[in-house]
Every structure is written in structure tokens, then in C-alpha cells.
């Protein structure tokens, strides 16, 4: 609280992000300990969490006031004009302080209180149980076992305590291998495919340099391939571009030499590093934030940002992995440099392609817990939770979510969750409202006592499950129904709902999704009605002495009543909220759309004409 000097500023203008004619809403700006709140004259509220703020800029003073631009990690961009420079300066300084905390303990999660008791909190944390998940995959079994080597984080600090390794790999071999791997991240099991008896394993790059070898590491890899009874050779996927991997050799790191390892097939897949990804996203955001963007500039900007090319690279790697297991029955070992960014992307996406469980709401949570949180993806550094090195920030997890979104677009019936679920998760990796994504590895999280001091996100998402259900999902597909996405470049589309989530005017005006959800609800209600009525008939029947008559009645009514009622119901009900006063649909409004910003032209000769602007943006947190 000591950072807040001004808590309320009146007569602040919120500019339309894309308008070229300075269209704006006037309202009051409030600064709280956790949020920045803007309430406009229509009483619409815009809430911005301090932790979501990526960048605050104070632009040069103009005649109408001092412009303040806030860019958020969830891709919201707001442009305020504060009438007095002094107020603007105060808010600017406060936000600078509040958005970059130095200590974990100052993050929102440590003060967030959803009014749950300790038992509920604990139950929330126990919702996702990874031991249970490995059991579901079918490990431990005759080939794979739980290793207690890392129980005290002695072998690798950034790995979880419980790791699964081939049964024939002894502890000395594991320890020896971990010394030969960057950050001690030796090869361990990430996913076990029960049908194919093949495994996805993950690790970091070997410290091979130009000639170094490690017998234990070679043994461990051999143990992994032996743990696969069907196929003797295994793939080793280096997810980096070959050039990057070669450069690492000079620093004593590098990649596996195929001559030293028996039965491996080595493969580069060429996903760029976190720095390339960060600047690619930056370019993308610059392009789509342009005012009065032309179609040509949009597409050339999209192309030159390279963003969708990177998404495709991640997807291609995951497809390669899934194919190795499905077609060749081979186990795969995946690594990059440290094995926590690209490796997490490829392993988790590969598992998602192979196993339909991960395409359910609960399964997707498990997948994130397993391949991202427990294996030490550095969420706090990559999302910039604390005031740290900006070079460590990178949208690696965002890319994973985008890949999943592309899959949901190509396979609309195979996912239990919808786009809103992905967006909500993305919201919370940055919000610091829940403990799940704080810290960079399990060890750190235990030290922070997150399970005692903060809440887990997953139970809250499950409670809200209805919002995240995909109405087209068909749950009947078998467990190992593999997805084979097509990666022709036109299938990679700009994810408007992510990068323009808060720019309501850019979105389609009617949602098929909502209407299907409504219909589903109605159907459920009707089915319930039918059951009620049937039970009523039964009750009557029991009461009546003459049973034969009612039996006939029941049979004649039953077959036709459901359809009849459904159709009636749809005719009576308008499925859309419509506003007749405006004569437009769902708030679609010419004033919102900036067809040409022509209002000046209209009113030039006759200043009396006021153009009707209902410019309302429903912004929700």
C-alpha cells in the first residue's frame, strides 16, 4: 500500500484502441492494492490486475492531458488520458512498483482469500495426483519403476521428487547420467503408451562437448530402449535447430553422438529458442496493434513476425514424436538445452496427440501439472512474475496453448474443453492469483509453502466447468485415438480470441458456441421434464386400480412427446438477446466498427448533427 499515492482520479478518458479519431469514454480511475479499476460513465467496469501489467508508458503531454498506456500480459492494451500530469505521474509510479514485485510473498496469491477453510484448500491441492496419473498410464510395471533417487532433490533440483525410470537402470547409472546432463536433468519417463509399450522420455542436453562420453548415460539410454519390448531402437529428438546445438558443443554441451550410443536414431527438429520466440511475439503484437491496419500490412506483418511458423515447428515436432510411437512403436527421448521449455512443449503436445485423456478438462490439468509444473518449466521467470531478468521472459507456455487451440480447430469433436478454458488458464499463469504457477520448480514451491499459503487454480476451474465445456465433444472415442493434424500452412490461423481477447469489436457477432450450449441446456431440461412426467404417470398407474388402461395411455404418449415438445420450445424461445432500440444484433454497432471514421465528414457542413455512438465495450476481467 505504501506505493499508492493517489487512489482516485476523475475525468479520465479511455481511448478506443483502434480508432483513428480519438474516440473515447470518460470515467473515473481507481487504484487499489491489487487492481486498477476504471468505471466509465455507463458504469461499465474495467478491472486490470497489477500482475497482468507487462508495461506502463507515460507518453508526451497533450492538450487534453497526459496519456498513459498500459500493456497487459493477457494482451489487453488500454490507453488512458489523465487530465493532470501530476495524477498521471503518481499512477504511473505506483503501477511501476505494484506490477513488479521483488518477493514472492508480495504476490496476489498470498493475500487472495476465496473464503475456504484449510481442509478445502488441502483438498483443492490434492485434486491432481500425479502418482495416480502414472498408475493410469500403467507404470510402475515390469519394465518401469519409481526411482527414489531424487526423493530429497539430491540428484536434480529442478525435477520432482518422484521419477520413473527403466527397471534395469540402477541408481549409480542414474547418478552417473545426471552428471553428464545439463543441470543434472537425466532421462526420465514423461509418458508411457500402454498399448504400444513405448515411452516418451525427457532430459536436458548431454555435456558431450566435442568428444566427451559417459558410459552411464549410454547405459541409461540403452535401458530405455530395452524397456520397450517391441522395438529395439529409440529416437533421440533434439528440439533445437542443428546450428544452435553445434554451437553448444563449444561450451562443453551439445548433443548425442550416434556412434557412442547403440540403437539410437538421432533427429533435430528445429524449434527456435526463447529469445527468438519473445521477439517474434513482440513483432506480432506490434503489427496487430496498429491503428487503421490494412489487410496487406496485417498479412505481411503476420508472416514476418514468424509467429505462426514457430507454432508450426512445435506442432511438427509433436507430430514426429506421435508418429514414432504410433507407426514405429519406438520409444522417444526428447531434449533441448535445459529440457524445460521446448522439451515440455513437445512432450506434452505429443502426449495430447496420443492419449484422449489429456483432451478432457481434468486430463488437461493433469498434463500441465505433469509436463510443465512438476518437470520444472520456469513459470515465474518465463511469465515475469517478479521483477527479474527480462531476457528470461518468453511465451513458451502461450505457444503450447496456441498449439492446443489449433488442434481444437482441426478436431472440434475431440476436446472436452473449449477455447475459454485455454484463455482462462493463460489468464492465470500471469495473474499470480493461485499458487500453481508460482516458482520455477517443485523444490522452490515447497520452500514457499504454497500449499499452505495459497490456493490451487484447478478446483475453481472445475467448479466453473460448465463454462469450459465443448458442446461438440463426443466422449465415445477410444482412449488411444491418435490425432493426426494437418500442418499445411493455411491451417495455421491468427488466434484472434487470444491476441484480441479484449477488443470486442473484432469478434464475430454471434456465437454458434453459445447457441449450441443453450440448446444443450434446453435438451437437458426437456429430458428431465420427460423423466418427471414419466415418473408421474407411473405413480398414477400404481394408484389406479385399472392398470390396463393407463398402460395403453403410457405407450401412446411416450414415443412422440419428446420431439413435439422440443420443436415447440424452440419456436417460442428467442435464443438471442436482442435490443430493438438499437436495431442491431448483439451490440454490433456501426460506431464500433470504424468503417471509415467518416463522422467528421458527415457533420462538417452541419455541426448540429451528432453521430450516434453507442461505443460500449463489455470488458470483463
Amino acid at each position: 500500500m505504501e506505493h499508492i499515492r493517489t487512489t482516485k482520479v476523475e475525468q479520465v478518458k479511455l481511448l478506443d484502441r483502434f480508432s483513428t479519431s480519438n474516440k473515447s469514454l470518460t470515467g473515473t480511475l481507481y487504484l487499489t492494492a491489487t487492481h486498477l479499476l476504471f468505471i466509465d460513465s455507463h458504469q461499465k467496469e474495467t478491472w486490470i490486475l497489477h500482475h497482468h501489467i507487462a508495461l506502463v508508458e507515460k507518453l508526451a503531454l497533450t492538450t487534453s492531458g497526459c496519456p498513459l498506456v498500459i500493456q497487459c500480459k493477457n494482451f489487453r492494451i488500454v490507453h488512458f488520458i489523465v487530465p493532470r500530469e501530476r495524477d498521471c505521474h503518481d499512477i504511473y509510479n505506483s503501477l511501476l512498483q505494484l506490477s513488479k514485485q521483488a518477493k514472492y510473498e508480495d504476490l496476489y496469491a498470498f493475500s487472495y482469500n476465496p473464503k475456504q477453510n484449510d481442509l478445502e484448500r488441502l483438498r483443492g491441492w490434492q485434486l491432481i495426483d500425479l502418482a495416480e496419473e502414472y498408475k493410469r498410464m500403467g507404470v510402475p510395471n515390469s519394465n518401469w519403476q519409481l526411482s527414489d533417487g531424487n526423493r530429497e532433490y539430491k540428484i536434480c533440483e529442478t525435477y520432482p521428487r518422484e521419477l520413473y525410470v527403466p527397471r534395469i537402470a540402477s541408481k549409480p547409472i542414474i547418478v552417473g547420467s545426471s552428471k553428464f546432463r545439463s543441470k543434472g536433468r537425466f532421462p526420465v519417463l514423461s509418458y508411457y503408451h500402454q498399448n504400444k509399450e513405448a515411452a516418451i522420455c525427457r532430459c536436458s542436453q548431454p555435456l558431450s562437448g566435442f568428444s566427451a562420453r559417459c558410459l552411464e548415460d549410454e547405459h541409461l539410454l540403452q535401458a530405455i530402449s530395452k524397456a520397450n519390448p517391441v522395438n529395439r531402437y529409440m529416437y533421440v529428438m533434439d528440439t533445437r535447430p542443428k546450428l544452435n546445438a553445434m554451437a553448444n558443443r563449444a561450451a562443453g554441451k551439445g548433443y548425442e553422438n550416434e556412434d557412442n550410443y547403440s540403437n539410437i536414431r538421432f533427429q533435430f527438429v528445429g524449434i527456435e529458442n526463447i529469445h527468438v520466440m519473445r521477439s517474434s511475439l513482440q513483432k506480432l503484437l506490434e503489427v496487430n496493434g496498429t491503428k487503421g491496419l490494412s489487410v496487406g500490412d496485417f498479412y505481411s506483418g503476420l508472416e514476418s513476425s514468424g509467429w505462426l511458423r514457430h507454432i508450426k515447428a512445435v506442432m511438427d515436432a509433436a507430430i514426429f514424436l506421435a508418429k514414432a510411437i504410433m507407426v514405429e512403436n519406438a520409444s522417444v527421448l526428447v531434449h533441448c538445452s535445459d529440457g524445460w521449455d521446448r522439451t515440455s512443449q513437445v512432450c506434452s503436445l505429443g502426449s495430447l496427440l496420443l492419449d484422449s485423456y489429456y483432451r478432457t478438462i481434468k486430463g488437461f490439468m493433469v498434463l500441465i501439472e505433469k509436463d510443465w509444473i512438476s518437470f520444472g518449466h520456469k513459470f515465474s521467470e518465463r511469465c515475469g512474475h517478479l521483477d527479474g531478468d527480462p531476457k528470461e521472459v518468453s511465451p513458451v507456455f502461450t505457444q503450447f496453448l496456441e498449439c492446443v487451440w489449433h488442434l481444437t480447430e482441426q478436431f472440434p469433436q475431440d476436446f472436452e474443453f473449449n477455447e475459454a478454458f485455454l484463455l482462462q488458464i493463460h489468464e492465470h499463469i500471469h495473474s499470480c492469483q493461485f499458487g500453481n504457477f508460482l516458482g520455477n520448480c517443485q523444490k522452490e514451491r515447497e520452500e514457499l509453502k504454497l500449499k499452505e499459503k495459497t490456493y490451487s487454480l484447478w478446483p475453481f476451474l472445475l467448479d466453473d466447468q460448465k463454462k469450459y465445456l465443448n458442446p461438440l465433444y463426443s466422449s465415445k472415442s477410444p482412449k488411444f485415438a491418435v490425432l493426426e493434424p494437418n500442418t499445411v500452412s493455411f491451417n495455421f490461423k491468427f488466434w484472434r480470441n487470444m491476441y484480441h481477447q479484449f477488443d470486442r469489436t473484432l469478434h464475430p457477432r454471434q456465437s454458434v458456441f453459445n447457441i449450441i450450449m443453450n440448446m444443450n441446456e434446453q435438451n437437458k431440461q426437456l429430458e428431465k421434464d420427460i423423466k418427471d412426467l414419466e415418473s408421474k404417470i407411473k405413480q398414477r398407474k400404481n394408484k389406479q386400480t385399472d392398470g390396463i388402461l393407463t398402460k395403453e395411455l403410457l405407450h401412446s404418449v411416450h414415443p412422440e412427446s419428446p420431439t413435439l415438445k422440443t420443436s415447440l420450445c424452440f419456436k417460442e424461445q428467442t435464443l438471442l438477446p436482442v435490443n430493438h432500440a438499437l436495431r442491431t444484433i448483439e451490440g454490433s454497432n456501426p460506431a464500433d466498427n470504424r468503417y471509415s471514421e467518416y463522422t467528421e465528414e458527415f457533420s462538417k457542413s452541419e455541426p448540429g448533427v451528432v453521430s450516434l455512438e453507442y461505443g460500449v465495450a463489455r470488458m470483463t476481467c
Binding site: 503476420l302 500452412s489 430493438h580 456501426p590
Partner: protein, 594 residues
């Protein structure tokens, strides 16, 4: 040369040029002899003999033809008695294998060329039925010969690419030549619609579904300021307008005649749409012929003044010129121009340049080219998409239409749209604006009426614009995919408002196909006058009757449609526009799962 006027009636002026040798004497004889009788029997199923007994020129008032028009109707080399389809067919049949893309198994069988079709009769053990392709839908043909077999690649106007592997070098050459000759016949009355007699449809049906008179009745119910004028009954005032048009009640036919002389092609301002909720109207016309001397036309000024007076007290008007201010000014040099501000009080001019003609056609060609290279290019897809500017045209067209609609709905202003000729981008803007504002045009029947009224009857020269699609090697003369651009814009509307259109993508795709090549007569010719001359209405079937059969209807409807009386305002930001994959990638994109 267009000035040479020809009359096909016996009572008209005598023959003056070589072409007239055709028309000389009894016109019935002439036209009858044009019909390829020799071929009738070899035409495929569904084709009956031509109703030659009916005389095509019955009406007492016959429009006079320009040379260009007569060439169009009869073909450039009108030696009718000699010209029979059988002469163009060099080889009747050959053994061939047909490849229709990666996902469809090839078809083996006997290939036949008939007057209007390419047929493939599968061998005895094949399970599939006869395969049939309308020759008119072939856009370009390419043949390669190697050893004792050849390959013909047919690129169709609906963007399909077919490959025929044919046994025998000579057969390949002959078939290629036959297809080439038959697919490029320019004569209208020998085209397939004149022979197409499908079962279950009656000739003459559905032609009178959407006459302007019916629309006028609707307008008349709502307002008293307009009347139906038959001043163009014989097409003498404006060859590209229909016989009846809706004009301000206060303007009489003589004034209209003078107005017509002041507008290019005689296209004087007529009512396109009456927006009842705000009491405003949408008009369309062609450019005024002000010329370098800045001519005036009092009747034209009165007409526009009467529009404002009839709308509501104090109404204003906007003239939406679909050219840039610069281009409109330059048009004066060639006799065109734009309305002078002082002469039209209450009207204000806005310029919204829309691309037309060759740049539009080139954009289309480049887009289709880019879509054909999907497999090879992995990285530069978006650059290619950008380079062809197609979506830019979509954005411009939509936002101009939105502007017109916004002026009517929100500013309560009347809008007159014109470019130069008023037959292309003008129609694009007026028809889209109606779709945005008018809920009845968003139904299946309403949309058909809109296409009929605002495109076909309004004189969009389909015959010229859709002569070739994106694959033709010939230098484009009059080709432009304006109608396709309209369909794309409608598709974008449907994507942004998935519940608001009663029809689905299927109807748009069907209209695209039929506009370029069709067994129906609806899109034949370039104006009502030409359709009258060819007797399209009595001798061909209407596309609408084909589409309105119950089994077709099911495919064209949008199951999510919820009627709503409201306007639909689309977003025109680049992020909101998508490539219409269902059309441009229809044949190349691998079938997405489910």
C-alpha cells in the same frame, strides 16, 4: 463500330454489314438454322430436342441490336448452316483415366466428347456411375504427349483441376482440340441451357419469381413517393436496365428520358432499396456525363431533389462515388465526371475507391495461383495471400457498403451509389448494404430476389465478366470477379453472424459455379435486353427453380438460422476477415476431419 445498328426483324432497316447477312430475311429461319440439330441426338441424358417451333421474335416492339450484341448472340462466325457441333468434335471417344485430386480414386473408362459435355463411361466392372462435365465450365486446357499416350489437364471455372490420361497420341490431340473449340463457343443460343430439359421442372417456371414489379409493390405499401415506370419498355432508354424501374413519383417519363441521356449508358438514378425503418432510400445510377464543359442536366438535378423531398422533411443525401476523387475528375476528359456540388443542394459527395476490372481479375488469378501451390510453399503462404490483395478488396467492399448502410440507418440520409458504368462496384455496394440492413434479404428467397434484382436485372454483364475464371491464359478483356467478390463478402457476413443468414455456404458456392458455367439460363447474357432477344425466359430453365427443389434446398440452408429484424454490422478489421477456404481451397485442401 458499336454504332452500326442492325435489325433482325424483317420490317426493320435492311442489312448493312456482313453480319446482317445472317439476319436478313426471315428471322425465324435464321435462328432456327443456328440450332445444332445434327447433334441433338448425341447429347447426354436430360436433353430433349429444342423447341424450335416457337418463333423467337414475336413481340411487336423489337429492340435494335448493336453489332457487338449480335456477335454475342450469334457467335463471331455466323455461318450457321455449316456450323454444327459435330464438325468441332474430332474424335468421339477414347480410353482414358480420370484423376480428380489426391483423395478421390481415379476413374477408368471410355471418354466421349459431345456438343456440351465431356463424358466418362466407366468400364463394366466399375461401381461408379457416369461422370459428366459441362464443357462450358472448362477454363483452360493443357495437353502433354509422351510415347503413345497423352495427358490433358483441364482447369475448370469452379477452380477444380482435372487430369485425363488418354491412350493414343492422336486421340489426345483430337480430344484436346475438340474440348478447346467447344468450350470457347461464344454464341448464347447454342449454349447448353437451351437444350437442358431436366425431369421434374417445367419451362418458364420460376422466371417470374422476382420481378421488379413485386418489389415495387412492397415499396408502394410503405411509401407513396415512388412509381413504377415502363419508360424503358423497349430498352431504348437504357439497354442494361430492365423494362420496368422504380423512380420518384414526381418525375415523369420525359424527364427520365432526358436524365438517361445525361448518364453513361442511360443508367439514370433508380430506386434500389427502400429502408422503411428510417424512411430512406438507396439509389443507383452511372456517372453523369458532365464532360470537360461541366454540363448540367436540370432533369437529373430535379430527380435527385425529388428523392430528398419524398423521403422525409429535411432529409439529406450522400452520393457515394466508388472511384477516387482524382479518378472521378479525370473521367471528365472522356465525357464522364461527377455531380457538381452546387447543382445538387442537399446532396454531399463521398469518394470510396473500389477496385474493379482488370486489377480485380488479376487479384483473383494470383489468389488462385497461391492456393494451388500449397504443398510446395510452407513459409510464404501468408506473403502470397498478402500479395494478391484479395482480402483487401473484401475489406474495402464491405466497409463501403457499411458506410452506405450507416448513412441510411443512422444519419437518416438517402444514398445514391455510382462509379463509372454503374454495373459493377455500384451493384456490389448496393446489394451488400441491403443485406446488412434488410432482414428479408437474408432469407433464402430474399437473397435470390436480391441477386436477381440487384445483379441480373440491374445489368451486371455476367456474359462478359464471367467469360473466364482464374485459369484462363487469354488476356482478360472484360472479365472481372465482381460477383465472386460479392459472394465472398456475403460469406464473411455469414461467418460473423452465423445465425443471421437463412442460407449456408452451399448456396454461395452454387451461385459461383452457375455464374461461370451453368445448365440453367439465369446467368446468361449481360442484360435483360439480351435475355429477351435470346428468349432465355421461355427456352431455358431458371436456376431458381433448380435450386428451389426440396432436395436441393436442404443442402443450401443454414440450420442455425434465427430470424431477426435487426441490422448486422460486420467488423472489417483485417483480423476479422478470413480467406474463404470453402471456395478457394475447395478442391485442394485435404478434407479436414469431420
Amino acid at each position: 463500330m458499336d454504332e452500326i445498328e442492325v435489325s433482325l426483324t424483317g420490317s426493320g432497316r435492311g442489312p448493312r454489314s456482313e453480319v446482317l447477312a445472317v439476319g436478313g430475311g426471315n428471322s425465324c429461319e435464321t435462328v432456327r438454322s443456328l440450332l445444332p440439330r445434327g447433334l441433338l441426338n448425341s447429347c447426354p441424358a436430360g436433353v430433349a430436342s429444342c423447341p424450335a417451333s416457337s418463333c423467337p421474335f414475336r413481340s411487336p416492339r423489337w429492340p435494335r441490336l448493336t453489332l457487338q450484341e449480335s456477335v454475342l448472340l450469334l457467335g463471331p462466325r455466323p455461318t450457321p448452316s455449316a456450323m454444327e457441333f459435330s464438325e468441332l468434335i474430332r474424335t468421339g471417344r477414347a480410353q482414358a483415366k480420370l484423376l480428380r485430386g489426391p483423395e478421390v480414386p481415379p476413374l477408368h473408362g471410355t471418354l466421349c466428347v459431345t456438343g456440351h459435355h465431356l463424358l466418362l463411361l466407366p468400364g463394366p466392372q466399375a461401381t461408379s456411375d457416369l461422370w459428366l462435365l459441362l464443357l462450358r465450365s472448362v477454363d483452360s486446357i493443357e495437353k502433354r504427349v509422351s510415347g503413345d499416350s497423352g495427358t490433358i489437364t483441364l482447369r475448370c471455372k469452379d477452380l477444380r483441376v482435372l487430369q485425363l490420361d488418354i491412350e493414343g497420341v492422336e486421340a489426345t490431340r483430337d480430344i484436346a482440340r475438340s474440348i478447346e473449340a467447344l468450350s470457347s463457343l461464344e454464341s448464347v443460343i447454342t449454349s447448353f441451357p437451351f437444350f437442358y430439359r431436366p425431369k421434374g421442372l417445367r419451362l418458364g417456371d420460376a422466371w417470374h419469381f422476382h420481378p421488379p414489379e413485386r418489389y415495387y409493390k412492397r415499396v408502394a405499401r410503405e411509401t407513396n413517393a415512388w412509381r413504377l415506370s415502363e419508360v424503358n419498355e423497349d430498352f431504348s432508354l437504357c439497354p442494361s436496365y430492365p423494362r420496368a424501374v422504380i423512380v420518384p413519383r414526381a418525375v415523369d417519363d420525359d424527364a427520365l428520358a432526358r436524365c438517361a441521356r445525361f448518364r453513361q449508358g442511360g443508367r439514370f438514378p433508380v430506386l434500389s432499396y427502400h429502408h422503411a425503418p428510417s424512411g430512406t432510400v438507396l439509389l443507383r445510377s452511372s456517372q453523369p456525363l458532365t464532360g470537360p464543359q461541366k454540363r448540367h442536366c436540370a432533369e437529373d438535378e430535379e430527380l435527385l431533389w425529388a428523392v430528398l423531398a419524398g423521403a422525409r422533411p429535411g432529409a439529406r443525401g450522400f452520393i457515394l462515388d466508388t472511384r477516387s476523387a482524382q479518378a472521378a475528375k479525370q473521367a471528365r476528359v472522356t465525357g464522364g465526371g461527377t455531380e457538381a456540388r452546387a447543382a445538387y443542394p442537399g446532396w454531399k459527395r463521398l469518394h470510396r475507391p473500389l477496385e474493379r476490372g482488370r486489377p480485380l481479375q488479376e487479384s483473383f488469378v494470383r489468389l488462385v495461383e497461391a492456393c494451388g501451390y500449397l504443398e510446395q510453399s510452407t513459409d510464404c503462404w501468408r506473403s502470397r495471400l498478402e500479395a494478391c490483395h484479395w482480402l483487401g478488396h473484401v475489406k474495402e467492399a464491405l466497409s463501403t457498403a457499411c458506410l452506405a448502410a450507416q448513412a441510411m440507418e443512422r444519419e437518416g440520409a438517402c444514398v445514391l451509389v455510382h462509379g463509372a458504368e454503374g454495373t459493377d462496384s455500384t451493384l456490389l455496394v448496393t446489394s451488400l448494404a441491403q443485406l446488412i440492413l434488410d432482414p428479408s434479404s437474408r432469407t433464402v428467397a430474399g437473397f435470390q430476389e436480391l441477386v436477381e434484382r440487384e445483379w441480373i436485372q440491374a445489368g451486371h454483364p455476367f456474359q462478359l465478366r464471367c467469360a473466364h475464371s482464374a485459369f484462363s491464359h487469354a488476356r482478360p478483356k472484360h472479365e472481372a470477379p465482381t460477383f465472386l467478390l460479392f459472394l465472398d463478402c456475403v460469406w464473411q457476413l455469414g461467418r460473423q453472424f452465423p445465425l443471421s443468414l437463412e442460407f449456408g455456404e452451399g448456396l454461395l458456392l452454387a451461385l459461383f459455379e452457375h455464374a461461370y458455367a451453368s445448365p440453367f439460363g439465369t446467368f446468361l447474357c449481360s442484360s435483360e435486353k439480351e435475355r429477351c432477344l435470346c428468349e432465355v425466359r421461355t427456352r431455358t430453365h431458371s436456376l431458381w427453380s433448380g435450386l428451389n427443389q426440396p432436395k436441393e434446398q436442404r443442402k443450401l440452408r443454414n440450420p442455425l438460422y434465427v430470424p431477426s429484424p435487426l441490422a448486422i454490422w460486420p467488423s472489417v478489421e483485417p483480423q476479422s476477415l478470413r480467406l474463404w477456404q470453402g471456395l478457394f481451397l475447395r478442391w485442394t485442401r485435404p478434407n479436414l476431419q469431420r
